[in-house]
């Protein structure tokens, strides 16, 4: 199967060489990596801002920054993490790199549009960063831009709003591209239910991107109109309604959570069968549950607004649906565990990360139900309990799935192998640091510690100190992991085409993949994840 007649995508010289060769490349693999490098860069900035916040909270009162600076720091931390890192996140990086390969295509449907999306993304990201330095000071509204404050704040909210708008546009174009790619470019013989599950999750994600993002677009435009033209949709003095903003904002921003987590679920769904050498359990259930999450996820946005005075019946309705939307996620969890059951488990770093993904995602998921229940929501709303919950989902879920994915596909992407030993060490430090950092926030949240405060009462100090220590440990883990990945991407041992004995299409081509992925477009006959134990037959002298 492995052939070397074609140059690989890393070495290929097109019209331009060096950096320009990358910046003008419409190759989906290069674009995927360009997203990854940009995301890593911004992740380091936002993680350091997070660390600064934890240092501030190591003791009550002002420690290293004043209240206004703290407001600016948590706002930009949120904007970068949400809009620049996790929303594009796995879909833009692994989706771009592996979607075409896994469905047996040479590229996405619109390669030029794909490159354009990256440039729009970079433009939006730069605007987000610039909003910190120009105009009336760093935005201080939090990433949620709630009116009336976001319409009144003297800081540079306009620029941040525009940045989010532009980033949304990039997200829409990526989603559109993926939908068309999946519809049109699947290899001959690959019917919908012979498609691997990572593409399935991307398909569900892409629909959310296309159908939900415009709502946040128009909402942000309305806030901009509110600030510049005094148009009054959200201003009670002019007859407007501030709650309307919260509705519109969460109509997008709750589905956006699934834009973040669905591709993460897709990535771990690829990892479990490979490292158990066993077909995925409940293929159909996993595929359909992705679509179910995308669909039901549209109608739960009101659970962010239980304390705002919306009517009893709408609270009842949103709470009920919030519990319903947990069901397909739970189905996936059962399927992943059943996939491992009875398999020949090989606990390599990708699987370790994927298993910790399940663990952290479940803590995040169950505390999400605590927040989705009407009575407990009143107690925990706007406390650090919420902060802990969504960090368990976003960092523990999406973040750890990203780490799982990069450790899984690293040999394919770079054709080299990282150090397994360092990967295990980094995992240990990250896992301990993560739980130390976020778990205490559940506890002090229930005790009444509000979120987004730079100061606190002395009774919360123990929790905050443990959390801050966790932050340092977590950062140390990140350093080890980044070192392992960055150093060994050029210096590691040469990786074979299929180091994990995977059966999806990306493992059937050389590492790193040739420029056009496939010498000949494969014809698909079997269901995915069919481990027919070719290796065994070979070793028994067949």
């Amino acid at each position: 199967m492995v052939n070397t007649s074609q140059e690989n995508y890393l070495e290929y010289r097109g019209r331009f060489k060096g950096l320009m060769g990358w910046l003008t490349s419409t190759d989906h693999k290069r674009i995927g990596l360009m997203y990854m490098y940009a995301i890593m860069f911004f992740f380091i900035i936002a993680a350091l801002l997070g660390l600064l916040m934890r240092i501030e909270k190591i003791a009550p009162g002002q420690t290293i920054m004043d209240a206004q600076t703290y407001n600016g720091v948590f706002t930009i931390h949120g904007i970068i993490m949400i809009f620049i890192i996790v929303i594009p996140g796995l879909a833009a990086v692994f989706g771009n790199f592996f979607l075409p390969i896994m469905i047996g295509a040479k590229d996405v449907a619109f390669p030029k549009l794909n490159l354009l999306s990256w440039y729009i993304y970079i433009a939006g990201a730069i605007m987000g960063i610039l909003s910190q330095f120009i105009g009336g000071g760093a935005p201080d509204t939090g990433w949620t831009f709630y009116v009336p404050y976001s319409a009144e704040s003297g800081t540079n909210v306009m620029f941040a709003l525009l940045a989010a708008f532009v980033l949304g546009f990039s997200s829409i174009l990526t989603g559109l591209n993926f939908i068309v790619t999946i519809h049109r470019l699947r290899a001959p013989g690959m019917t919908w239910f012979k498609m691997p599950l990572f593409p399935w999750s991307l398909y569900a994600t892409a629909w959310i991107q296309v159908l939900a993002t415009p709502i946040i677009g128009i909402t942000l435009l309305m806030v901009i109109a509110e600030r510049t033209l005094n148009i009054g949709f959200f201003d009670p003095a002019l007859g407007g309604d501030p709650l309307l903003f919260q509705h519109l904002f969460w109509i997008y921003s709750h589905p956006a959570v699934y834009v973040m987590i669905l591709p993460a679920m897709g990535v771990v769904t690829e990892i479990f069968p490979t490292f158990s050498q066993k077909p995925v359990f409940g293929y159909g259930a996993i595929a359909i549950s992705s679509l179910a999450i995308a669909l039901v996820g549209y109608f739960v946005w009101g659970h962010h607004m239980f304390t705002t005075g919306i009517s009893y019946w709408s609270r009842w309705f949103f709470s009920f649906l919030t519990f319903i939307v947990a069901v397909p996620s739970a189905i996936k969890v059962f399927n992943w565990i059943s996939t491992m059951y009875g398999g020949s488990i090989d606990l390599k770093p990708p699987l370790l990360y994927a298993i910790s993904f399940i663990f952290l995602f479940m803590i995040g998921g169950f505390t999400g139900l605590t927040l989705g229940a009407l009575a407990t929501n009143v107690q925990t709303h706007d406390t650090t309990f919420v902060v802990a919950h969504f960090h368990y989902i976003i960092f523990g879920g999406m973040g750890f799935a990203f780490f799982a994915g990069i450790h899984y596909w690293f040999p394919k992407i770079y054709g080299r192998m990282y150090s397994n030993r360092l990967a295990y060490i980094a995992w240990g430090i990250l896992f301990v640091g993560f739980n130390l950092l976020y778990f205490p926030l559940f506890v002090i949240g229930i005790q009444g510690m509000p979120r987004r405060y730079f100061d606190y009462l002395p009774q919360f100090q123990t929790g905050h100190v443990i959390s801050s220590i966790g932050a340092f440990i977590l950062v140390a883990g990140l350093v080890v992991m980044f070192y392992n990945l960055i150093y060994y991407r050029r210096k590691g041992e040469i990786a074979s085409a299929n180091p994990w004995k995977g059966v999806t299409l990306e493992w059937q081509i050389p590492s790193p993949p040739p420029l056009e992925n496939f010498e000949e477009i494969p014809v698909i006959k079997d269901k995915p994840y069919t481990f027919d134990n070719k290796e065994e037959k070979a070793s028994t002298g067949n």
Partner: protein
Amino acid sequence: MNTSTAHTDHYDPESSKIGMWLFLFTEMFLFGGLFLVYAVFRNKYSADFHHGAHELNAFIGTFNTVVLLISSMTVAMSITAIQKKNRKLAVNMIIITIVLALVFMLNKYFEWSYKFEYKLYPGSPVMMNLPQGEILFYGLYFMMTGLHALHVLIGIVLLVVNIFKIRSGKVHHERFSLLENSGLYWHLVDLIWIFLFPLLYLVT
């Protein structure tokens, strides 16, 4: 390097059409947000909305609706013309479409400047002294028609690009996806107006 022909020269009109439809969905949802806001405030301030709509000039609105409907027809005719290899007719039909679009914009310009003469624009003292529902009605009026006008301008640019591409032979009877998709976009601009017109001018 000649290994990468498929990378740059991949023409699949079906894909572009699906892509365009998806993009049109996003446009509908963009305006959908405004329609939602309209529905909420119309429900809350129905008397003020009634009065506001009464003040708008239904004649100009009707006239513009007719203009846009005809332009949708001419753009469709240009696509048929290019399929029948009649490039000249196709270009002429696009030019007529653009002229109609400009007529629409001119009308819009007069309509808006008439309001500005009465110092009726968002944030003006005159507007701020109106009843709350009317402030919101005019806010919606300016934002919806403004955003729509922006789409008309984008549509005009797209059509101009098509004229050049047809003249340079890049769009022809076997490869007219660009023109077809621009036509789809133009129909969307028309369609949104079809909704804006009754909501703003006729619901009195």
